[in-house]
Amino acid sequence: MSKEKIKKQIMNLAPVVGLLLLYGVFMIMGTVKDINIAYGMKAIINQSIVVAVVATGAIFIYTLGSFDISLGASVATSALLGGIVYNATGSLLCMFLANIGVAVFISLFNSILASVFNLPVFVTTIAMLSVLNALVLVLIKVNGTGSEIAVPAEAVKALDTTGFKVLILVLFLVLCIFVFNFTKIGRMQKMLGGNEICARLTGISGKKMAIIGFAMAGIGVGLGAFVSTIYAPTLTKNTASSVGMDVIIAIVFGGMPVSGGARSKITAAVIGAFSMTFLGQIMTLMNFNSGIGQMVKAVIFILVVFVATFNQRSKMLPR
């Protein structure tokens, strides 16, 4: 391997190295401060898992070079409808199916709306964000107590274990890795993200791939909603409201190029989601207040992404 190549390799692994580094810092600081590390790891998994699952699905959208800002609202909507379904049927399976169904429906609606009417997906999702936020309020008003829709805590308690949640993440990740790396779909999506015209002239249907991509993202959103519900079964208007932006941050932090294409990595989401949580925990250990903590986070975020993409600088400013 040439020197250049080694350098490239290191840059490419920057997000992974970043994660390991953050993990190390957390362990060291945790040991020094004598915290309950074992419980902490569990907490970190709990705190990362929803974002990790949703972001992993969203990689399919990002690979296409698209962008979905309504994912958080979508998680909330699907969690709420799932909650309504549970309260009506008393079946967790029904809730699960409702979670997935609703999320996939929303996602497909987004992509079909965009492809039928030739709209830029991103703008469609901005509009969708408003619609879903409003829908959340309406759902809670109509079907809940007004301030919440609650699934009984006992009903989901059995599932609220780290093992189960990690299992969901791993299964979904494996599914996504399979689809992304070992089937035609992943290749076609990367090609579309890299050069849409060329992909079309290679017989790859942008619309079909967008629909598949959004469907995969929808599954991620549905799983996220499910995991979110079993973790915190009381759903309110702000449920999952931070997920939308966290997903974007996680994906980028994990080393995924925002423009999508051939450099897309399916594992970026998980790496990014866990990195951000570790970072948050470290901020807590350092006793930063919200303002300072957020500033430090911002700086580290930019630095990591900067290092990870150091070998991709061009003469012109990126857009």
């Binding site: 790891m41 569990k42 399916i266 594992t267």
Partner: protein, 433 residues
């Protein structure tokens, strides 16, 4: 190659978390057990104490060992309101400096999941107790704390009766001290009454989080309407309702306040929510400038949203919030006429109760149940009054509840404790001081 490596690493990481979680959950339990042990031993102490309290009546408790630093987590639901900042200020600037405690604050929480993960973080950091200002899912918070052997206390608002019944015997539930919904109702009632007594007839109401069914706001609004129904003369009613339950029920039905007449009293306008968009600000503006309007009653912060629009009119604004300097200025400028505010030290007693629980000496009521004590507002109706209150409230040297006062709570029995909390008015506290 590198992709493969990244993938393997990623899967390995997940696997390690699975394996780790197998072991973590085991370890976690073990850890929880270890944390449980002192707590449990504390629990047995407590049981013993309870028995003693039960047998020996209201005897004072033994000396507390305050040599070890106690970590307490604080769940913050809104880190930017005057109230929550005043509270944090009291904890940070006074409590943390005068007691051997380390207070950890959560980030701003917006949902039940946030609460849960914040508590996870507290437990990770070996907090012995959690004081909660966040109310998305209190039962879940309590259960989570109890499972980990961590004491849990509610610092704003109280539990509903049903909720209290279900958890009052939980040894990790310290209790709640704050305005109950009845107190909230009364606060609204008093506010409206204040103006009705002055002969005002034309009101507008700001509903705050009422459209999101935030109960304390609903009860405050209901209190206002109740006062109007009483003052409205023969046959006055709000949408047909004439009593407390009826009015509350009406608000729950529609999540809004209907404008119109209540007997001789008029509700000219209503705005709810915190949309903060152009349309919302326009709604606020036009409400403040309505013809004939005399008073704006806000269930929350009113002057910030209506003050400038009402500038130059005779409209009075009444708010419920905390003692923040901005309100003093607003009162001085005539933009705020009436403030029912929580005083920052009002969260002193719940700290005392939580702290002593963490030290192994929890306080329970005469039946051995968790605390459920009411506490109300300081009402200022003039700038002078505000300044007097504010001087005390904002002081970090001698706040409303000083260390000496709180120290008595650490060893007080239930009767003394509850009496102390019950005397929350400014004058009462001054008298105690």
């Amino acid at each position: 190659m590198k992709k493969l490596l990244a993938m393997i690493l990623c899967i390995a990481l997940c696997m390690s978390t699975v394996v780790g979680c197998g072991s973590t959950s085991g370890e976690g339990n073990a850890a929880a057990d270890t944390t449980n042990q002192p707590a449990e031993s504390a629990g047995t102490d407590e049981d013993a104490e309870e028995q003693t309290t039960a047998q020996g009546g209201m005897d004072a408790v033994a000396e507390l060992d305050m040599s070890k630093t106690v970590k307490i987590g604080v769940l913050v639901s809104d880190s930017t309101t005057a109230e929550s900042l005043a509270f944090q200020n009291y904890y940070k600037e006074y409590i943390a400096k005068n007691y051997n405690v380390e207070l950890m604050y959560s980030d701003e929480l917006v949902d039940a999941a946030g609460e849960k993960s914040a508590i996870d973080t507290f437990i990770t950091n070996n907090c012995k107790a959690v004081i909660s200002f966040s109310s998305f899912d209190r039962m879940a918070q309590l259960n989570q704390c109890a499972d980990a052997g961590v004491y849990y206390a509610v610092a704003t608002g109280t539990l509903t009766n049903d909720e209290y019944e279900s958890v009052k015997t939980n040894e990790y539930y310290v209790g709640a001290i704050g305005p109950s919904l009845d107190v909230e109702f009364q606060a609204g009632y008093d506010m409206a009454k204040h103006y009705l007594d002055q002969g005002k007839k034309n009101f507008a109401i700001f509903g705050g989080a009422l459209p999101y069914y935030t109960e304390m706001h609903i009860y405050r609004a209901a209190g206002m309407l109740m006062a109007m129904v009483e003052a409205g003369g023969e046959g006055a009613n709000y949408q047909g309702a004439t009593d407390k339950d009826g009015i509350v029920g009406k608000i729950f039905e529609t999540a809004t306040i209907e404008t119109g007449s209540i007997g001789s009293i008029n509700i000219l306008g209503y705005v709810g929510g915190y949309d903060m968009d152009e349309a919302w600000f326009a709604k606020c503006g036009q409400m403040a400038q309505m013809d004939g309007l005399e008073v704006i009653l806000a269930v929350g912060n009113g002057s910030d949203f209506f003050g400038t629009s009402a500038q130059g009119t005779d409209v009075k604004i009444a708010s419920v919030d905390a003692y923040a300097s901005a309100y003093g200025e607003a009162m001085e400028a005539g933009m705020l006429d009436y403030l029912a505010g929580k005083f920052s030290a009002s969260i002193g007693p719940i700290f005392a109760a939580t702290y002593r629980a963490a030290l192994g000496s929890p306080i329970r009521n005469s039946e051995g149940n968790a605390l459920a004590l009411d506490q109300g507002y300081w009402v200022a109706t003039s700038s002078e009054q505000f300044n007097e209150y504010y001087a005390v409230d904002s002081s970090v040297e001698s706040p409303a509840y000083t260390k000496d006062m709180l120290d008595t709570l650490l060893t007080a029995d239930y009767a003394a404790f509850s009496e102390f909390v019950g005397k929350y008015s400014f004058d009462d506290i001054k008298a105690i001081q």
